[in-house]
């Protein structure tokens, strides 16, 4: 069927006809997989001389009141993919959307990173970092939202 002339024409025509449907899905919903697309790098992160990036961090509280602040990626397993995208999927900004299994997993990662202390809770601090690219080193952090997770209670 596929190697007949009609089959080949149908294959080309079908692929071209379905492509707008795929684009509609990408624009209106989410990118499907598999899909005929390359990295889009949509948008333009630079506004004048200012570049704004999301730079979340964890503030881990231990029994006894000690607090450790670490970048988000330091409590995530190494991945060859973009870790911020994965972080944002694993830790939604709404507390109620964070799964108990995820909470237990995060606690075990903290214990592995800080074996000397018993973590009692953690704050996920959603921050934006504004870089002035005209003045390297000039960076301003703004906290957008803080989500507190308590390891002592069921979420």
């Amino acid at each position: 069927m596929l190697t007949s002339a009609v089959g080949i024409r149908l294959l080309f025509a079908g692929t071209i006809a379905l492509f707008p449907v795929q684009m509609l899905l990408i624009v209106e919903k989410n990118e499907p997989y598999p899909a005929l697309t390359m990295p889009a790098f949509s948008g333009h992160p630079l506004e004048g001389h200012v570049l704004v990036l999301e730079k979340p961090e964890f503030r881990v509280q231990f029994a006894g009141g000690h607090v450790e602040t670490v970048p988000y990626e330091s409590l995530m397993p190494a991945t060859p993919l973009d870790s911020l995208s994965i972080f944002k999927n694993v830790f939604p900004v709404h507390r109620s959307a964070i799964n108990p299994e995820t909470l237990a997993w995060l606690k075990s990662n903290i214990i592995r990173r800080f074996p000397q202390g018993e973590p009692s809770g953690v704050d996920i601090v959603w921050r934006k970092a504004s870089y002035d690219v005209a003045h390297p080193g000039d960076v301003r952090f703004t906290t957008v939202r803080t989500v507190h997770l308590d390891f002592g209670r069921e979420p």
């Binding site: 499907p32 598999p34 790098f41 949509s42 333009h44 992160p45 001389h49 730079k55 994965i86 999927n89």
Partner: protein, 344 residues
């Protein structure tokens, strides 16, 4: 002959650079955020043993593809295994756009890429049938549509506005997101005042991505667009340290490998080896021995590349460099030998 040689290049390059997928088991099942499509059926990560089995099977299929044994069936298997193994890592919600390297074997199996420079050719001893052209044109269409999608998204989100310098923004975003960027990309922040050059870069990027689709009907124009694309991938590597080698491997399907390898093939020792290979008589038992050899080879390659990830990373960079060299060579040839000469 071109596609027979390309089949070997594709299989070896992919075998050396396919990623480890076992890292996904370090995430909880609750982290699964599958994209639209068949991955939505996945509710939990497979065990490490299953992931290792998938990796080994993938390597075995690629080794069989390299030697050209059971090529039609193995090409389909490679596509399915690449789709599944890449897909499992994308269930965490980040898609890495490897679709071209996944689809290439399936499409090229219809171009009979196993009928030359292969064990299948020795087994069948049939006169080589003419090679259908439509699979290559279809692969070109698939490459073109994929880039068109990226160009469309860039156009729709302001890349062509003269005030945005989107490429610079994305490069700087990557630069400032990482605490340890390699020395090769540290030149980027020093160029922020060259706004016009970066705006031209935005326009050239979108133009290159559109050109791939619009040149599909004309092979020479399409190859020129692909040569520009490999230089684009080299630029991305130098500016962001993103290694997009799998696309470069796919562009190789449109290279005249027989012509490129002719000087090598003319060497007496290589010529003798080719003649000896072509004269070999193989039966089904010998084919099974070849399969066993491929299995051993794939097992060793899987073990070495999984144990030393730097091998895959280095090979990916080398693929981009080699692709850029072939691209520059092709562009120079078009400029020097093919361009119309002025009348003297």
């Amino acid at each position: 002959m071109d596609l027979g040689l390309y089949r070997i290049i594709y299989a070896v390059a992919t075998l050396l650079t396919v990623p480890d997928i076992q890292w996904v088991t370090k995430y909880p099942d609750a982290a699964i955020h599958a994209p639209l499509g068949p991955l939505l059926l996945i509710s939990g990560f497979p065990s490490s043993a299953v992931l290792v089995a998938l990796e080994v099977l993938r390597s075995f299929a690629l080794a069989l593809l390299a030697v050209g044994l059971w090529t039609r069936f193995v090409s389909v298997a490679v596509t399915v295994l690449l789709l599944a193994t890449y897909g499992l890592t994308y269930t965490l919600g980040k898609i890495d756009h490897t679709i071209l390297i996944v689809l290439a074997p399936l499409i090229l199996s219809f171009a009979h890429w196993g009928r030359s420079v292969s064990i299948d050719a020795l087994l069948s001893r049939r006169a080589s049938a003419s090679q259908p052209q439509w699979p290559l044109r279809f692969l070109a269409l698939v490459v073109g549509l994929s880039f068109f999608a990226a160009a469309f998204m860039k156009f729709a989100t302001g890349w062509l506005s003269p005030t945005t310098q989107a490429a610079l923004g994305h490069i700087l975003a990557r630069y400032y997101s990482s605490d340890s960027m390699p020395w090769s990309v540290q030149w980027v922040p020093a160029t922020t005042q060259f706004r016009l050059a970066w705006e031209v870069t935005d326009w050239l990027t979108v133009a290159m991505e559109l050109a791939i689709l619009f040149t599909v009907p004309w092979w020479r124009a399409f190859r020129i667009a692909l040569a520009a694309a490999v230089l684009f991938h080299l630029g991305v590597l130098l500016a962001t340290n993103i290694v997009f080698s799998f696309n470069v491997v796919v562009y190789g399907a449109f290279v005249s490998w027989a012509e490129l390898c002719r000087p090598l093939g003319a060497a007496p020792i290589v010529k003798r080896a080719i003649d000896r290979f072509a004269a070999m008589q193989l039966n089904r038992g010998a084919a099974l021995l070849v399969a066993l050899f491929a299995f051993a080879l794939s097992g060793v390659t899987w073990f070495v590349t999984s144990t030393i990830p730097a091998i895959g990373a280095t090979c990916s960079v080398l693929i981009i460099l080699a692709g850029a060299a072939v691209g520059v060579g092709y562009l120079l040839r078009q400029a020097v030998f093919v361009a119309p000469k002025p009348i003297s």
